[in-house]
Amino acid sequence: LAKTTQPISMDSYEGQEVNITCSHNNIATNDYITWYQQFPSQGPRFIIQGYKTKVTNEVASLFIPADRKSSTLSLPRVSLSDTAVYYCLVGVAGAGSYQLTFGKGTKLSVIP
């Protein structure tokens, strides 16, 4: 079962790039890596997903090194509205077996 580790919290000033890394040392071959954002009193919301190398969408980039033992969520030029908790999720499906493991979340505080 994949185990994920993230920093508990991070602070950043508005306009800066923020990188949040998730470690998943025992990631399996078929595992996908997904990141979610959660605001207080709301359900998590999908940000980005990847399997290897780099993925970019309109809100973030996801960097996954060749060994896939970690992944880094990159948020360009954060604003106050990016203050939230960010979770990495490692999931695998194989031979009728499914596993999903969320990290414990990184609380990002964006400072004016």
Binding site: G43, P44, Q49, A93, F102, K104
Partner: protein, 113 residues
Amino acid sequence: DTAVSQTPKYLVTQMGNDKSIKCEQNLGHDTMYWYKQDSKKFLKIMFSYNNKELIINETVPNRFSPKSPDKAHLNLHINSLELGDSAVYFCASSQQPVGQEQFFGPGTRLTVL
């Protein structure tokens, strides 16, 4: 239109009671999930159904029983509620299990007194 809805939003009850939380999705997804988020904000998968078949059944007390009457609904029934069951329970859905974006409901805050 709400994609994933849960009822009730808040649930306050006494220890020992039995309660149910309902979840519905109108996205046409095949897979639905129940998660528990504790006071430390840790998210833990409890159950998942794919096409009404149970595919994830994590180690949770057997007082918790999921029921999927059809692909659009996944309910969670909890017997003999305990103080430690107090948490926020989230329902989610995705087109397929794993490797797909999950859409989460707004959560049900359960408080056991």
